[in-house]
Each structure stands twice: as structure tokens, then as C-alpha cells.
């Protein structure tokens, strides 16, 4: 009897692995192997010359040291953080306000809440094209500004305004996405809690501060971290809208790494930049996973 049980278990286990392993091995091959390859690459000096002929050698931390001594790279790091944090602040607060607004029950709430998400589904490359158009000198934004008597800057030509334009375009995509995730967080708060609070005489503001915020803590944190992970690795938007310019003022780690690898063909340098990007994401990712595992319990 015991033996039979064991053999059934074994068969089940084999079945399970049969279903899971193909995907798992695929991920190891297509993601895991390149990941490790990238680590090695970042400690070598592979470029277009020695790529085909061979002869690349390990150079230790040299790529990293050179990067951190390079002002452009430091600017790129700054840009990446400014971009990410600015996007997070606006996406999250406006997204949260929208979530609370659309969480109310009225006839148009469902359809419009869905409609605004279309910007999230669009190719980022087209969002970039659109941004390039509406922030051009005689474009929509400056036209609207001139209607209220303001002469708009040459957004994408000035080093001080280009990043702002990119941030605005990214928020157009990010706000609806944050809204969607936060609405699903709101849905998980049971209505009874609110009802009993209303009976106790709590007004809207009190209910928000003492019920909504504490109960949403988990999903708010999750949305912020996920937002960080998605925003920090941005590439498509800058690549199409500004190509990192003018003068690297919209260059972020993603675009800088790409440029080093594929326009200057300094593959090892590009890998080292990607590693810096990875480490930042990894730290936030750990917190996110920790949060998910807590939710599971």
C-alpha cells in the first residue's frame, strides 16, 4: 500500500516537471545564460575589433572605474533617478486620485476607466513619436500655452526642458496604469469597514486617512516598487523621442548602455552600464518580492 502511494507520487512529480521544466529551461537558456554572460562581459574588454578576431582579456573592474570617472555616466545616473522619481511622484499621486474617483459607482466610471488605459497598451515607440510632435517648437503644447499668453520653450532642444517633456509623456502612460492597480487595491477593502466608520460619524477625510491609507499600505508599496522597476529601465520612449539628447540630457541607463554597445561597439562598457542598472533594480526587486511573499501568507 505504502509502496503504491509512493509510486503514484513519483509519477505525479514526473508529470509536474514535464509541464514546468520546458518553460524553466527556456528561461535559463534565454535569460539566465545571457545574464551570467553579461557579468563576465562587463569584466572584459570586448569591442568591435576583438569581437571577431578574438583576443579580449579580463580587465577586472576597469570598465566600472572608467564609468564612474566619466561625467556623462554620472549625468546618466542622475537623469535616470530624476526621471524615475518624478514619474513615480506624478503617476502615483494622480493615479491614486483617479483610482479613488473612478472607484465611485456612476454609470461612466467603468467605460472611461477602461478607455484611458489604451495609452498603456500602445507601443512606446509611437508614444515617443507623438511626444516628439507635440513638444516640437510649433507643436500642440506650445500652441496651447500661447493661447494663455505663455511663450513655450523649445522643449526638446533645451537641455533644461527635454527631460520634463519626456517625463510628461511617460506619465500619460503611467497614470492610467497606476490607477488600474490601485483600484484593484481599493476593491479589496471591504465595504463593511467604511459603513461602520460612517455610522461612527467619520467624514470623508477621516475615512481616507484612517481607513483607506492604512489598509492600502500593502498595495501602495507594491505599486510604487513595480512602478520603479518599470520606469527605471525605460528605453523606447527616450530612444525615439530624443535619442538621449540634447547633450545627454535625456540619456538614461537603458539608452546609454545601448549606445555604448551598438553605436560605439564597446560591448563590455555597455554590459557594465547594464549591470549598474540591474543592481539598482535588484535592490528594489528584493523588497518587492519580500512584500509579495508576505501577501501570500
Amino acid at each position: 500500500m505504502k509502496g503504491k502511494q509512493l509510486s503514484i507520487d513519483k509519477r505525479k512529480r514526473r508529470e509536474a516537471y514535464g509541464f514546468i521544466l520546458p518553460a524553466f529551461l527556456y528561461m535559463l537558456l534565454v535569460l539566465g545564460y545571457p545574464l551570467i554572460y553579461n557579468v563576465f562581459l562587463s569584466f572584459k574588454n570586448v569591442n568591435v575589433k576583438n569581437l571577431t578576431k578574438g583576443g579580449s582579456v579580463f580587465v577586472g573592474l576597469q570598465n566600472y572605474i572608467e564609468l564612474f570617472q566619466n561625467d556623462t555616466f554620472l549625468l546618466v545616473i542622475k537623469n535616470t533617478f530624476v526621471f524615475t522619481i518624478a514619474c513615480l511622484i506624478f503617476q502615483f499621486t494622480i493615479g491614486f486620485a483617479f483610482a479613488i474617483f473612478f472607484y465611485q459607482k456612476f454609470r461612466l466610471s467603468g467605460p472611461i476607466r477602461g478607455m484611458v488605459l489604451v495609452s498603456y497598451m500602445m507601443p512606446m515607440a509611437v508614444t515617443g513619436l507623438l511626444g516628439k510632435n507635440i513638444f516640437s517648437n510649433l507643436g500642440l503644447i506650445n500652441n496651447l500655452l500661447s493661447k494663455i499668453g505663455i511663450t513655450g520653450p523649445e522643449w526638446l532642444v533645451n537641455t533644461s526642458t527635454a527631460l520634463i517633456a519626456v517625463i510628461i509623456m511617460n506619465c500619460w502612460v503611467g497614470i492610467p496604469f497606476n490607477m488600474l492597480l490601485l483600484i484593484s487595491g481599493l476593491t479589496s477593502i471591504s465595504g463593511e469597514v467604511y459603513e461602520s466608520a460612517s455610522i461612527d460619524g467619520a467624514n470623508w477625510g477621516q475615512r481616507f486617512v484612517f481607513i483607506t491609507l492604512p489598509m492600502m499600505k500593502g498595495s501602495m508599496l507594491a505599486v510604487l516598487m513595480l512602478g520603479f522597476i518599470y520606469t527605471f529601465r525605460a528605453f523606447d520612449l527616450m530612444y525615439i523621442m530624443t535619442a538621449g539628447g540634447p547633450l545627454n540630457s535625456t540619456d538614461v541607463l537603458g539608452t546609454y548602455s545601448y549606445m555604448l554597445s551598438f553605436t560605439q561597439f564597446q560591448f563590455s562598457k555597455g554590459s557594465a552600464v547594464a549591470m549598474v542598472l540591474f543592481v539598482c533594480l535588484f535592490i528594489v526587486g528584493l523588497f518587492y518580492l519580500h512584500l509579495l511573499s508576505k501577501e501570500d501568507d
Binding site: 514535464g18 514546468i20 474617483f101 473612478f102 456612476f106 510632435n133 492597480l181 554597445s261
Partner: protein, 278 residues
Amino acid sequence: MFKTRVGKKEFFNSVIAIIIAIIFLFPIYWLAQISFKSDAETFGKVLTYFPHEFTFDPWLVNLTDATFLLSLRNSFINAACTMLITLVLGVPAAYGMGRYKVPGSNVFLLTFLVSQMLPASLTLTPMYLIFNKIGLLGSHIAAPVAIAATSIPFAIVTLRPYFKSVPVALDEAARLDGCNSLRAFISVMIPAVKTGIITIIVISFLNGWNDLVFSMTFNVGAEMRPLTANIYKFQNAYGTKWNCIMAYGTILVIPVILLFIFLQKYIIGGLTAGAVKD
């Protein structure tokens, strides 16, 4: 006019909602309306908010261009291949992880969750070098192979709860009827989680369709690239002819909008499930 407070509130909420919708959808209107403008109007000194002389010329410029048509085809190939790889590998894995508790399942789940977070930049350079070595550069399959690595974890994380919620009895009944586990999976379990499968189909298709970075890195030749990756080429060709550029962009967005209109509930369900909840 309003007899009740509720009616008044409904009215004001609706007005605000419509204003939000207009602000958020306006850029898409903007994209489309420029694509119907004549050259003269595009280059005119005055910015117009709708085409005064409506024309299809910018569309025809794109649709009669051989490279454009090839790119359009490549976009579909990219999307279809990504979708296929994701379905074939992701759906069974989601089932295996939702249904069986095996040693190592936590490791699997962690791997899939982590791989969702990795930036493309991280694997781009090594993959380029690897594909270069094994001769996959400049092939239709190179980009989908890489894109699927982001869709598969998404499929698993999204579908696993669906499979978990299907009663085990359904599975067992199929096996008692003499199905082996693979047949039970295909003929009983997949239909039972149809909603989730449609979500995966749509999202993985869009992942392939929207991709820029893998497609442009692994395909150097313009005739091998999808629409997204050829944007620069056409921008250079059109100069500041924004009507032609926007027609290009509009065509690129149409499939997305169609999918969005008809399959919205699957998309939205998937986005929420895949992102926050396990």
C-alpha cells in the same frame, strides 16, 4: 433640475470623467488627425486642430512603400511568434505550478517573478553576441525568442491562479475516463481557463507587436525589421512631413486599438492579475 443629491453627484462625476477621458485620449486623436492632413497644411504657419482639407495621401505614401509593407508583415510575424512560444511553454508551466506541489516549486516561482523584472538592456548585449555566434542575427525568430522570455513569466504568474481555481475533480474525472495527463490538460483544463488563455494570447501578441529594442538590435537590415524598429528610417525619409510620419504611427497603433476595443476585459484582467497579485 436635479431632484436628488445622488443625481447631482452622478452628473458632476460624469462631467469630470469625460474631461479626464478627453485629456487622456486627445493625444491619440492628435496622432490620427495629422495623418489626414495635406502637405500644405502640415507645413502651414498656423497649427490646425483638425484637417481642413481631408486627404488619404499620407496613408497611401506608406501603404505603397515596399519596405513599409515588409515591416508590417514583420510586425505580424514578431507578434505571432512571440504569442506561439509563450503559449506552448507558458501555459503548461502555469498548469504544472498551479496544480502540483513539487519540490522546488518555490524556486520556479521565484525565477519567473524575478525574470519579469529584468530590463532588456541586461540581456541585449550578451544575446546579440550569442546570436551572432550561432547565426541567428537577422532572422525572424531572433527577436521573438527574446521577447517571449518576458511574456512567459507573465503568462505563468497570470494563469497559475486560474488553474488553481479549477476543481481538481474535473481533472480527475478526465483521467478516470482514460485520458493521460497531457490529454486531460489539453481537452479539459485549457477550455476551463479560456478567459485566462485569451488574456495571454492578447498580451503576448501585443508584447511582440510593440517591441522595439530586441527587433532593432537583432535585425540590422530594414527589410527584416518590424514597424517599430523602422521608425527612424521612415523619419529620415520623410523629414518633417509629420502627416506621413503620423500615418505610419496610426497604422502601427490600429491593431492595438482594435484588440483593446474588442478584448478590453481580458487585457485589464490580465494586467491587474499579473502585476500585483500572485
